[in-house]
Structures are given as C-alpha cells and as structure tokens.
C-alpha cells in the first residue's frame, strides 16, 4: 500500500516536472545499458586509499559504464552487512572480515577482485612509548582497534600467533591516531601507508608490527558482493569492475592527482595532509596495487596461488573455508577477455 502510494507520488512529480519543462525524455539509445545508481561502501574515510574509485567517478567512467549517480560511502562501517542488506552494490573489505560472515551467519557473499595485493595492516606504536616490535610485545598492552571488521583482523592476528586474547586489552578508537599520540593506548591498528606516516610526520619515531610479516599475509581493499548480485546483476558488477580498473589505471599514472582528488574533492572536509596523501597515493601504487601478477594478468587479479595463501591465513586464524565459498574471479576474467586493452 505504502509502496504503491510512493510510486504514485513519484509518477506525479515526474509528470509535473515534464509538464513544467515542456519536453519529453530523450529516448535511450539501445547501446547504453542502464544499471541505475551505484553505491559503494568504502572501507575507510575518503583518503587516497580510494584514488582509483575517485578517478573513476570524477572522470565519468562509472557513468559511461551505465551507472546513474555514484555514491561512495565513507567507512569504517559494517561493510558486509551493508552489502547483504542491499544498501550498496559493492563493499570494499578483505577476506579475513568476510569469511566469518559467510561461515557463521551463512551469508552468501563473494569477493570478486582486490585492489591491494598485499595488506598494509600494522600495529603502530611509538618508539619512545610501548615500542611493540614483536608479537610477544603485545601482551599486557592496550591496543586501539576500530569497532567492526578490524576487530576480526586483530583477533586473527592474536589467534594466528597463539596469543591469548585475554592478555591484550582492546580499546575502541576511531580513525584518528590521536589516542596513540596522547598515550591513551599503547598500540593502534593502522595502515603502514597511512596513519603510520601521519604519526611519523608529526615528529614521532614509530614502530610497526606488520600483519603480513606475522602470519597474516592476505589481500585487502577487496570488492565484496552478494551471490544474488552475481547471479542476477552480473553485467552491473562487470561494468563496475571495468570502470574501477580504468580509474585505478589513472591513479597509477598520476598519483599526485589521486592525492589531490582526496585532498580537495572527496575528502575536503577531513583536514587531510597533502604530504601524507601524496605519499600514500604513490606508495600504495608501488607496493600494494601493482605486482608482477597484476602486470601480467591485470589489476584486481587474485591468482590461484594468492587465493591459496589467503585460505591458509584464514585457517591459521581459525576460519576453514574453501576458495569457491569466498572468491569468484570469473567476472574479472570475463572483463579482461571482453576488454583486453584494460590489461
């Protein structure tokens, strides 16, 4: 009842608008496919981590691919739940946070590609403070962890290294590493390409305990979607991948412009630092987004060997899952087959 009322209201407004403007809608050409509006749940605040998505939006690649308006939703958020609830078509997450949702809640989610081939997650600490350099140094410390998916990562780090979770105090923090600097926490879950640099830039010597060096190598900034979208909205997902690949190619070609988009357009209210954005934009391209595998097989690729490595990491963290349950790389494969120039 409400729904039909809503439809009538929308129709009435549309008719009114057309009458007022005195013109009929332009007939859509048959070539242009329309997938409606695009919503993407980002994994973090709008900084240069998402340079490629910013380019794809700013340069109109999403529009060209057939999407209407584009809504890039800032994180950190309940990414998997947002995707499952249909609020967004694509969420940006990682295998460690997605797998438990599939295993424990029976959710039908798949990862269809990944931006970062390695993960830059670190436990950041101050050299003059707790100086957490080895995994054993975590014991008895207060670590700032953002609520949500990052907690799953932190649990996995402890589990994979056989550390009893009760021996480490987890403290809720937001994206700002200030609690580390002002001494509220001993360590802070961060990106070595982001907060670590920010804190170092403030004049502190920092220590990083990298997840990748401590039993948790995995891909991240991965595109997670529902099985339902794969089955029923496959072309839209492929269009998203294609446009986003184009965006990331631009981001790789012009890291400073990617930093500028974060600084002046998408994250202009965040008070980002120019030096840090330019550093992050450049560094992520060099060490995280591009590897020998992506140069051979295209961006966002997750090779079979990489999938095996991720599954092994998940197993160490206590999540036994198969490749077919977690990954579906067929869409990306089709995108590259249909658009070989993208490679």
């Amino acid at each position: 009842m409400l729904k039909s009322l809503k439809k009538i209201a929308v129709a009435a407004i549309a008719i009114a608008a057309l009458t007022l403007s005195g013109c009929a809608p332009a007939a859509e050409t048959e070539e242009t496919k329309s997938f409606g509006d695009l919503s993407v749940q980002l994994s973090w605040i709008k900084n240069s981590e998402f340079a490629g998505e910013f380019f794809a939006d700013a340069n109109g690649y999403y529009t060209e691919a057939g999407f209407g308006s584009v809504n890039l939703v800032a994180g950190p958020a309940a990414t998997e739940a947002e995707v499952l609830n249909g609020n967004v078509l694509v969420g940006i997450a990682n295998p460690i946070s997605v797998a438990p949702v599939i295993l424990n809640e029976g959710a039908q989610l798949k990862i269809i590609g990944t931006t970062y081939q390695k993960n830059p997650f670190t436990i950041l600490s101050l050299k003059d403070g707790a100086n957490i350099a080895t995994i054993q140094d975590l014991i008895g410390k207060k670590i700032g962890v953002q609520a949500g998916p990052n907690e799953t990562l932190f649990d996995a780090l402890l589990k994979a290294n056989g550390i009893d979770a009760s021996k480490v105090t987890k403290v809720p923090v937001q994206y700002d590493p200030a609690p580390l600097v002002n001494g509220e926490v001993d360590g802070f879950l961060a990106y070595v390409t982001n907060e670590s640099f920010t804190v170092a830039q403030q004049g502190y010597e920092v220590t990083n305990l990298l997840f990748a060096d401590n039993g948790l190598p995995f891909v991240t900034e991965s595109f997670v979607v529902t099985q339902d979208s794969i089955d029923n909205n496959r072309e839209a997902l492929k269009a998203f991948l294609k446009a986003t690949i184009r965006g990331w190619k631009d981001a790789i070609a012009n890291p400073n412009e990617g930093a500028r988009l974060a600084l002046e357009v998408y994250g202009k209210d965040l008070g980002l630092s120019k030096d840090k954005e330019e550093y992050q934009s450049k560094t992520q391209n060099e060490i995280l987004v591009q590897t020998d595998e992506t140069r051979a097989n295209g961006l966002f690729t997750i090779s079979d060997a990489m999938i095996a490595l991720n599954l092994a990491t998940l197993k160490a963290a206590g999540y036994v899952i198969t490749a077919d349950q977690l990954f579906d790389m067929s869409l990306l494969k089709e995108v590259y087959e249909e658009n070989p120039e993208l490679k």
């Binding site: 739940a81 499952l84 249909g86 438990p100 609520a147 949500g148 907690e151 105090t169």
Partner: protein, 254 residues
C-alpha cells in the same frame, strides 16, 4: 506487579515482530525473538554464545550500578544542600540545568581524556546521566510538603535539619522513588554509552562491534537481553516503592 512485567514483555515482543514486518527488514539483518532463542539455546555454539552475552551483560550491570550509585548519591546530597539553603539552590540549579542540556556524547571525548578509559570515566558519565533528572525530582519532592507543616516544626523550636528530617524527607518519598525509577534505565543508558565510547567492554560496545562484524543474531540478543533486564529492574524498584510508600502512608496518593 508480575502481571505488569509480563504485559511489558508482551508489548515489546509484539512491537518487535510488527516493526520487522512493517519495515520489511531482510531476514539476514532483522532477527525475531525466535532467532534470538535459537542463538542462545539451539545453535551448535549456543553455550559459547550464552557465555559471551552473559559476560557482556555482567559488565554492563557493574558499569550501570557504578553510575547509578554515584549519581543517586550526589543527587540526594545536592538536593539536601539545596533544601537547607535557598541561596545555594538559586545559584547552582541553573548550572545543573545547563549541564543537563549539554549532550553527553559531545562531552565524552574530553571526559575520556581527563578520566581515562577505566572505572573513573564509567562513574563520571554514568553519574551525569543519572544525576540531573534525579536531582530535579528530589528537590521538587523535598519542597512538596505544605508550608504550614514547616511552620509547625518552627513553632516547636525545631531547626532546619529537624524540619528536613520530620517533614521534608517523608513527604519527598514519592518523588525520590520516581527519581529512582527513571534512574534505572538512565544508568543503563549511561553504561552503554561509556562502554561504547570509552571502555570497549560490556553490551554497549559488544552491540557496536557485532554490527560492524555482521553478526545480527548477536546484536538482537544483546538488545533483547538489556531490554528485559531494564524492564525487570524497573519493576523491582516499583515493587520496593509500593512497600516503602505504604509504610509511610503515601499509598493513597498512588
């Protein structure tokens, strides 16, 4: 009273089902009371689930009690001061009202910076939530006796303290219990808030965490549990209120 409690539960359960249905919530996100029961008692991990939610609930109860006790103690103390001296009341009541209108959530970061992320912040934030509504109620109650009764104490040579003890205190009991009753859910709210923003323990944090990690059954279980506890505690205070007021001859006013 038990009937009251049962009616409250029934209303909550009906609202729960109706809301899920009316807003067309997807089954993955929106769990109903039966799903919560399954999460607690039927799924393979049920006993771990029970341990987890009970640990969180225990922590929240501790945090809420701290806020409740500190807040009620201060409210009682301050309102006694107010009733002994009109001057103090006139000077401080507006400030109390002002503090009441500052949103706690905006003050939280500064409270955390000053008092840290442990019990001190729990006490401060819990007390702020409980203190002001309780204070207003108790001050009103202490003034509620007819002036003639205070005059009577005066005539017999009693001082202000005598008047407080023999007249103001007994006549303030209904307001005092009203303050206690609103402070129970208030203290729980304060505890949830401080857990979410500062300590990272208890249900206040567990809900946020479980939402972030896409664990809807767990989220609904926490919400159901804290609602049940809130209703039960409220009714226990109401029960206490009835028996105390009856003893002091206030029952007819109910």
């Amino acid at each position: 009273m038990i009937l009251n409690t049962l009616v409250s539960f029934a209303v909550v359960a009906v609202l729960w089902f109706v809301a899920l249905w009316a807003f067309n919530v997807k089954p993955f996100i929106g769990k109903n009371p039966f799903d919560v029961y399954k999460f607690m008692f039927e799924v393979p991990a049920a006993s771990e689930n029970r341990d987890m939610v009970m640990t969180a609930l225990g922590q929240t109860m501790i945090d809420a009690s701290i806020g409740f006790v500190v807040g009620m103690f201060l409210a009682t103390l301050i309102s006694l001061l107010f009733s002994l001296s009109k001057g103090i009341e006139q000077a401080l009541m507006p400030i109390a009202m002002l503090l009441r209108s500052v949103p706690l959530i905006a003050m939280a970061p500064i409270i955390i910076l000053i008092f840290g992320r442990e019990q001190m912040s729990v006490a401060v934030m819990g007390a702020i939530v409980v203190l002001f509504p309780a204070l207003v109620n108790i001050v009103f109650g202490l003034r509620s006796a007819p002036p003639a009764m205070f005059d009577l104490v005066n005539v017999y040579g009693g001082n202000k303290l005598d008047a407080l003890r023999t007249v103001a205190f007994p006549s303030s009991l209904p307001s005092f219990f009203a303050a206690l009753k609103i402070s129970v859910p208030g203290a729980i709210t304060g505890a949830l808030l401080v857990e979410w923003l500062a300590t990272g323990q208890g249900i206040g944090y567990a809900i946020v965490s479980a939402i972030g990690r896409a664990r809807p059954s767990e989220v609904w279980t926490y919400v159901a549990l804290i609602t049940i506890v809130s209703i039960v505690l409220y009714n226990i205070v109401a029960l206490l209120e009835d028996s105390v007021l009856a003893k002091y001859g206030h029952a007819a006013r109910k």
